[in-house]
């Protein structure tokens, strides 16, 4: 929980004095800006906020945010963050990592942080490439990706970050895009406000090793046609004229694109986004280019009664009830069970 700072902080107040060392033009700069704005909008208390990262370009993030920060080891940020949050549940804890960090070497920890539902906010920067190690294909790279390690094209199918998260029983998943500064801060703030593990995929352009990988939907001129901006309670409309929409086809048990006014389609046919509907979320996660626009926004949000760490501390509180308010007596701990006295 964040205590409101006495003085309203601005996004620049969340910047450190460190030189930012990403390549010029890297999408990470935009994400840093978006997150700093989110922190300001949320009124995040820098003293009670922690950014934890693993290894990779994205993982340098904590050095540039003027909160507490811990740059750890490859793939293990969710585990370190879990320890931070368990020890002090009052902290707001973010995990920042790339696709290799979170879905390859650290896939196990990502999965367990999500299914355990510890209240950390996982921001996964997906650039579909290994940047820091100079451009090898990553677990999210599309089939056929040519890279130093796959000179004739990658042959293993990629993982979908959001489908992976849903498979681990995520209770909050969202997606945003580095270039969508108008969209990102609110999504990050929603993730932070969610009680439990929130998982946000942030589409990020690596200008050096995978430039333009997302241009087909991220570019300004195509975004209306190629992005499906989801808002809870609003119909799933997209397109410049907002006349295209997503409809459920009960015959094929799948989502399809329809145009209002064509083939007898009316506004009533379009699905209204319900971010608490898990089945809908599962289907939305499967929408991918080139056949569908890319869903962005909060795709699923359905908090559990309590996050993991709350349950952990509740068990401790229950155990402490035995003490009836008295401090724990270590001597009693050693004397539980069978003892005997040897007389002098």
């Amino acid at each position: 929980m964040n205590v409101q700072s006495p003085k309203k902080l601005l996004p620049k107040d969340y910047a450190t004095d460190q030189d930012v060392r990403w390549c010029p033009g890297c999408g990470d700069y935009a994400i840093l800006r978006g997150v700093q704005k989110a922190l300001a909008d949320m009124g995040a208390d820098p003293a009670n906020t922690v950014f934890v990262s693993g290894i990779g370009c994205a993982a340098r993030f904590p050095y540039y945010v003027a909160t507490y920060g811990f740059h750890t080891i490859h793939g293990r940020a969710p585990s370190v963050a879990t320890g931070v949050k368990l020890a002090n549940p009052n902290l707001t804890v973010f995990v920042v990592g790339g696709d290799g960090d979170g879905l390859s070497i650290g896939g196990n920890h990502t999965m367990h942080a999500i299914r355990r539902n510890i209240d950390i906010n996982y921001l996964l920067f997906n650039n579909e490439i290994y940047g820091l190690t100079k451009g090898q294909y990553s677990p999210t790279s599309r089939l056929g990706t040519r890279s130093p390690s796959t000179p004739t094209g990658s042959i293993d199918p990629p993982v979908s970050a959001l489908q992976f998260a849903m498979g681990a029983n995520a209770r909050f998943i969202a997606r945003t895009i580095d270039r969508r500064q108008d969209h990102m801060p609110a999504i990050v703030a929603r993730a932070a406000a969610h009680k439990g593990c929130s998982f946000v995929e942030i589409i990020q352009n690596c200008i050096v090793y995978n430039d333009g990988a997302f241009d087909s939907f991220a570019e300004k001129d195509v975004k209306d046609e190629q992005q499906l901006e989801l808002v809870h309670g609003k119909p799933m409309l997209f397109g410049k004229a907002k006349n295209k929409g997503i409809r459920f086809n009960p015959k094929t048990m799948s989502l399809e694109i329809v145009t209002i006014g064509e083939n007898g389609i009316s506004a009533a046919d379009i699905i209204v986004h319900d971010e608490t509907n898990r089945m809908l979320a599962v289907m939305l996660c499967q929408l991918e280019p080139p056949n569908f626009p890319v869903p962005i926004g909060v795709i699923y949000c359905n908090p559990a009664p309590q996050p993991y760490e709350t349950a952990v501390w509740a068990q401790i509180a229950t155990a402490k009830e035995k003490l009836k308010g008295k401090p724990a007596d270590l001597n009693a701990m050693l004397r539980k069970g069978a003892t005997w006295t040897v007389a002098g």
């Binding site: 811990f70 009052n90 920890h109």
Partner: protein, 626 residues
């Protein structure tokens, strides 16, 4: 031989002996561990000194009647100080042919073998490749034997409770225990009470087990025993008055960690992942929530280490535990704790290796791994416990050093210490001096790697206003804590990391000599659970006038600052270890002393006789050479 029956004399109708070694052996499903634990309890109450050695198979339910499914529990008890579980057995209780086959070689000549002939069937012989009945083919020549159809007698004793054959036979271990209680004059009441609690929810099972226990006891009283199987008296030992309990190494470490954390005034976050023989530590601590212990079963060893590090970063005492293979997985994370200078306690309950090795057997072969087993120059602190009671103190010391020097500390125990139990005089913890940790709170002039005169950095925890800072595995600048790739700075930081750890030698006790003189002809240097056999072997040799001393290390790294000079005061140094020669390498490298190894990796502790003959050999060879 420890546990020797020499010096026996008759008193009343009981033969009096100074000490005895008994092993209960049977199928994994026969309840031998429970039987042994109960006998231990009763023996402790009878005021004997004792030491135990539980030995069980890696398989949870190995096929019934096979040699690899044999589970055993050994206890050595006596009227004098007992330091080991005993070399050779005075009594073997073998519940089936497999137990006889795997354990008979450890029985001393003339020792007593008690067998359940109900299990000595052709079918069972075939399972263990006995070509003929070992009770008849001369296998037992040279041993005394007591052949009883315990299976049938047990079933008769529980017939009234209407249990089926299978459940009825499960009471067999209590029948055997009853007989041994009779033989050694133990009061079965402790077990009667325990059975009532254990089977509180099933009165029939409680009653049946108690009936079997009493029947075994009554059998001893009424049956015509062969003359040589009479009752035995092991008189009470001169034990210091006080309150006692049985203590296993696992409990000792758990309670020591909790006590240490309280003395440091830190909450504890313990993150573990199941692995034999370390899992029990997680189990014990999970039951101590009211003592500010948070336990977390992570998804793997790496996550466990990382969660503990995260907890330390957040201002708790992070602790993780495993055995060698799991510690290998944690290694990169331990490096992170070294680079970021965070407290972390890593408990390693060592087992036989490499790889999966011998999961349930003991070994002390992770010394290299602890002291040197990381990428780059990555010093940390290594401590080793030598017994359950010692493990309690070492755990407290681990917490003190970790918290006050901002460093990972590896606490080494092993499968033997973890599982063995010993009587323990319960200390009064209110007499221990606290060592509270002071967190940094003042933002004035703060950076995360500001150091005091001991080179220890200040610990600032998230949530503290004005102390926001970033740490990580990248090299940091000595003067600011910011990322630095400067060549000179890396040299300086490497020096600091080394010297900070070496400096801890100023804050630990000088190495003492356990037995013997501070200089002389031969020093036997040990660490960990070899303490018992070394100590006893040195005592015996000294009693014969040999000039030999025993030195036992608790601090493996940094080493005590007088150790080099101490070792140089001896003509010869031998280092018995349950590994292929690890401490001996460390000592030779560190001090250029011609120390020699005495090594054993059979999954079983050293026998006293093995160390004793090594001592005699060395001293004799040397004498001959002179």
């Amino acid at each position: 031989m420890e546990g020797g029956t020499a010096g026996a004399r008759a008193r009343g109708d009981r033969r009096e002996i100074e000490s005895a070694v008994i092993r209960f052996a049977g199928d994994s499903g026969d309840g031998m561990q429970l039987t042994g634990t109960q006998f231990t309890q009763a023996t402790a109450i009878a005021r004997n000194e004792l030491a135990t050695f539980p030995d069980f198979p890696a398989e949870i339910r190995a096929p019934v009647g096979t040699t690899f499914g044999v589970s055993a529990y050994q206890i050595n008890f006596g009227a004098r100080t007992i330091k080991t579980a005993g070399d050779d057995l005075d009594v073997l209780v073998a519940m089936n042919p497999a137990a006889l086959k795997t354990n008979l070689k450890d029985v001393k000549r003339g020792g007593l073998v008690i067998v359940d002939i109900g299990e000595f069937t052709d079918k069972n012989f075939r399972k263990v490749n006995y070509a003929s009945n070992p009770l008849e083919d001369g296998t037992l020549d040279g041993y005394k034997s007591l052949r009883i159809d315990m299976s049938r007698l047990t079933l008769e004793s529980v017939a009234q409770f209407g249990l089926g054959q299978k459940d009825g036979l499960r009471c067999k271990n209590m029948w055997a225990l009853g007989l041994i209680y009779w033989m050694y004059g133990r009061d079965p009441q402790v077990t009667v009470d325990w059975l009532k609690v254990r089977f509180a929810k099933n009165q029939t099972l409680a009653d049946a087990n108690i009936a079997a226990l009493k029947a075994g006891h009554a059998f001893g009283e009424t049956a015509e025993m062969p003359a040589e199987v009479g009752q035995i008296l092991v008189p009470a030992a001169p034990i210091r008055p006080g309150l006692y309990r049985a203590l296993t190494g696992t409990e000792a470490v758990a309670w020591g960690l909790v006590t240490g954390a309280h003395l440091a005034r830190l909450p504890m976050v313990f993150a573990g992942y199941p692995i034999t023989p370390a899992s029990a530590l997680l189990h014990v601590l999970a039951g101590l929530k009211e003592y500010d212990v948070l336990t977390f079963q992570a998804e793997d060893e790496i996550a466990a280490a990382c969660a503990a590090i995260g907890a330390s970063y957040a201002g708790a005492l992070g602790v993780t535990s495993s055995s060698g293979p799991g510690v290998a997985l944690k290694t990169e994370a331990i490096g992170l704790a070294i680079a970021t200078e965070l407290p972390l306690v890593i408990v390693n309950s060592q087992r036989g290796g490499p790889s999966t090795g011998l999961p349930t057997k003991t070994e002390q072969s992770d010394l290299y791994q602890s002291v040197w087993g990381r990428n780059a120059d990555a010093p940390l602190v290594v401590l080793a416990a030598h017994s359950p009671g010692d493990a309690f103190e070492v755990a407290i010391e681990s917490v003190r050093i970790a918290a006050h020097y901002m460093t990972p500390v590896i606490l080494l125990t092993d499968g033997y210490i973890a599982n063995a139990s010993e009587p323990w005089q319960i200390p009064d913890l209110s007499k221990l001096a606290p060592f509270p940790v002071k967190f940094r709170e003042n933002p004035e002039g703060f950076h995360p790697f500001l150091r005091d005169e001991r080179l220890v950095r200040n610990w600032a925890k998230p949530g503290t206003p004005g102390l926001q800072h970033r740490i990580g595995g990248i090299e940091k600048d000595y003067n600011s804590g910011n990322i630095s790739y400067e060549p000179e700075n890396h040299q300086k930081m490497t020096d600091v990391r080394r010297n900070r750890i070496l400096g801890i030698a100023k804050d630990i006790p000088l190495q003492k000599v356990e037995a013997g003189n501070a200089k002389g002809r031969l020093a036997v240097v040990g660490w960990g659970s070899t303490y018992g056999p070394i100590s006893r072997a040195v005592d015996r040799c000294r009693a014969d006038g040999l000039d030999v001393s025993h030195i036992h290390l608790r601090h493996i790294w940094p080493l005590p600052r007088n150790l080099g000079d101490l070792l140089k005061g001896f003509d010869q140094v031998i280092v018995p270890e349950m590994n292929d020669g690890q401490l001996v390498t460390l000592l030779r490298a560190q001090y250029l002393v011609p120390a020699q190894g005495l090594n054993k990796v059979t999954g079983k502790p050293f026998k006293i006789s093995e160390i004793e003959s090594a001592i005699r050999d060395r001293l004799a060879t040397r004498q001959a050479a002179e």
